[in-house]
Structures are given as structure tokens and as C-alpha cells.
């Protein structure tokens, strides 16, 4: 019997309801995409968590490295003018 390490890893994204975007839910092993989708259904939506599923081969994801954290993310830390907080919100405007 082959072990689960022989099967590639897949990342699972679940859309919890219409209008929201897919959110990363976790990962699983499966021999191919179709089975990955079904395993995702069984593992991540069995308590009505979703209305749509994506599975992506983990190897297809290029991730930022923790070593690059400083150059990637720190420069944004002291630039508060990038936040839209310097505007007066006109009275009566909803959903802002």
C-alpha cells in the first residue's frame, strides 16, 4: 500500500458564501486534481463551510520568504499616508 507521501500536496481554498472571495482553508494529499477536489469537499466543507472550492498544487505556489520580511513588508509600516484616513467623510454617506 503506498503511503500518503507518494501523493502530491494540494492547497484548498473555500468560498464560504456568495460574494466573498475564496480563502485558504488548509491542505491535503490526493493523486490528482479531481480527487483533491473531492477530498477537499470531505475534509473542509462537511459542516457547511462552503459553496465553492478551489484546489491548487502546492508546488504551483510561489511564496515570499521569511528572510525577505524586512525588505518586503517593513517599508510599508511608516507610511500612514497610504491609508485613506485623511479624508473627511461627508455626512450621510453609508457603507464606507
Amino acid at each position: 500500500m503506498s503511503s500518503s507521501t507518494d501523493w502530491p500536496l494540494w492547497e484548498v481554498f473555500v468560498r464560504s458564501r456568495r460574494g466573498l472571495s475564496h480563502t485558504h482553508a488548509g491542505s491535503l494529499h490526493a493523486p490528482d486534481a479531481e480527487m483533491a477536489l473531492r477530498n477537499a469537499r470531505d475534509l473542509y466543507t462537511r459542516r457547511s463551510e462552503g459553496v465553492s472550492l478551489w484546489v491548487v498544487p502546492s508546488t504551483a505556489i510561489t511564496a515570499s520568504s521569511p528572510d525577505e520580511k524586512d525588505s518586503f513588508f517593513e517599508p510599508a509600516g511608516d507610511k500612514p499616508y497610504r491609508h485613506p484616513t485623511f479624508y473627511e467623510i461627508p455626512e450621510g454617506v453609508k457603507h464606507l
Partner: protein, 233 residues
């Protein structure tokens, strides 16, 4: 005999067999898949058995000869391919049956309407595995064929008339055969050619005649309730 008892026992017994994979399935993902299917079936069993009596008494306090499930569902799990063969034979049958019942107006129409969606997934699960194992490695092909062959003689019973169940057994058998044949052929496997029931079956499960492994399964399934009547948590 009540048809609800027949359908309920099919679901209950197969649910227990699939539950036996917990902790033993080849991979974690598949273990959860089988447990999900088992829980779907358990839900169906509870609705059906509750409609004819106390579900706990029916599940845990009946003797072997009072169970009305077909012999197919009580067969031991064997290896994974064997379990998948059992799933293919049964879930295709159950899907076609529930489709017919859901389209009708009889006492099972409501249950079947809900359950047919669950069972469609069980069927899809079984068919995909038959394709993968049959058209996989030489070993998976051989094991899948062995599973199909070993369980073939229990499939005839599925199409015998059940009192109180208004379905056309002949057309059910026809649809079942062409569906199963199509999957088996696409999986590069061979449909078993022997008789679909054994000479000794004598009416079999629906009349309360069961195969040897069923008694041992019941002993395990019932022992907790029999040792501690009414236990709950």
C-alpha cells in the same frame, strides 16, 4: 415485512461496515471520505428505523435473523478495493432506487429526495475509485477485479421485489447493469460472468438469512448497548 426496515437495515449495516475503516484506511483523506459516507447512511437508517419503531431497540436489541438487509452490505471490508467494489454495487443500486422513489408519491418520497443527493456522491466516489484502481497498477487492477468477482454473487438479491416498495425491479436491474458495466469497462476491468446469486441463498437477507460474518459484526455493533442498556453520552 416492512420496506422501511429493509432499506433502514441496508443503510445501518453498510454504515457500520464503513465505520470499521476508521483508524485503518490507507490515507487520512480517504478515512474521512468513508466516514462521511457512513454518517450519511446512518442518518438515513435513523429516519427509516424510527418510522417503524424505536431506533435503538431495532439497531441494538434485534437478533441476526430479524435483520432485513441484503447480504451484500454485511460482507466484510476486505482490502480497500473490496470495499470499493461493495460501494460500487450498492451505491449505484441505491442511487437508482432513490431516484425512482423520489420521483414517486409513496411513503419514501421525502426521504429519497433528501438522500438521493447524498447517494449521488457515494456513487461518484465509488466510480472514481474503480476507474483509478482498475486502470492503475497491475496490483490495484488485480485487487479491484478480485473485489468485483468476490461480491458479484450477492448482487442478484438487490433486485428481488420487496413488499411495500413500489419499484420496478426489472428496469432497476437493467439500469444498474448498464451503469456498472460502463464503469467496469472504462476501468479496463471485466464484469463477472457468474450467477448473481448463490444456490444456497434461499431468499437470503431480506428474509433474515445472513452470512457468517454478519453475526460477528452484530456482536461488535451491539455489545456496548447490551452491556450497558440505555448508555449515552
Amino acid at each position: 415485512m416492512s420496506a422501511a426496515l429493509a432499506l433502514g437495515d441496508d443503510a445501518l449495516v453498510l454504515s457500520h461496515r464503513l465505520g470499521e475503516w476508521a483508524g485503518h484506511a490507507p490515507v487520512l483523506e480517504e478515512e474521512v471520505a468513508l466516514a462521511n459516507i457512513a454518517l450519511d447512511l446512518l442518518g438515513q437508517a435513523r429516519m427509516l428505523l424510527s418510522s417503524v419503531g424505536d431506533e435503538d431497540e431495532l439497531a441494538f436489541l434485534r437478533e441476526e435473523r430479524s435483520f432485513r438487509n441484503v447480504q451484500l452490505v454485511e460482507q466484510p471490508n476486505g482490502d480497500f478495493a473490496h470495499t470499493i467494489a461493495r460501494q460500487l454495487y450498492f451505491s449505484v443500486y441505491q442511487h437508482l432506487l432513490y431516484e425512482q422513489l423520489a420521483a414517486g408519491t409513496g411513503e419514501f418520497a421525502d426521504l429519497a429526495t433528501k438522500a438521493v443527493k447524498e447517494v449521488a456522491y457515494h456513487r461518484d466516489h465509488a466510480e472514481r475509485w474503480v476507474l483509478r484502481l482498475g486502470d492503475g497498477t497491475a496490483e490495484s487492477h488485480e485487487r479491484m477485479q478480485n473485489g468485483l468477482d468476490a461480491l458479484w454473487r450477492f448482487t442478484g438479491e438487490l433486485f428481488r421485489p420487496v413488499e411495500g416498495l413500489d419499484v420496478d425491479g426489472e428496469s432497476l436491474h437493467g439500469s444498474w447493469s448498464s451503469a456498472v458495466t460502463s464503469v467496469v469497462e472504462r476501468a479496463t476491468l471485466r464484469l463477472p460472468s457468474g450467477p448473481q446469486s448463490s444456490a444456497w441463498s434461499a431468499g437470503a437477507g431480506r428474509q433474515g438469512l445472513h452470512t457468517e460474518p454478519f453475526g460477528r459484526m452484530l456482536a461488535e455493533m451491539q455489545h456496548l448497548h447490551r452491556s450497558h442498556p440505555g448508555a449515552s453520552w
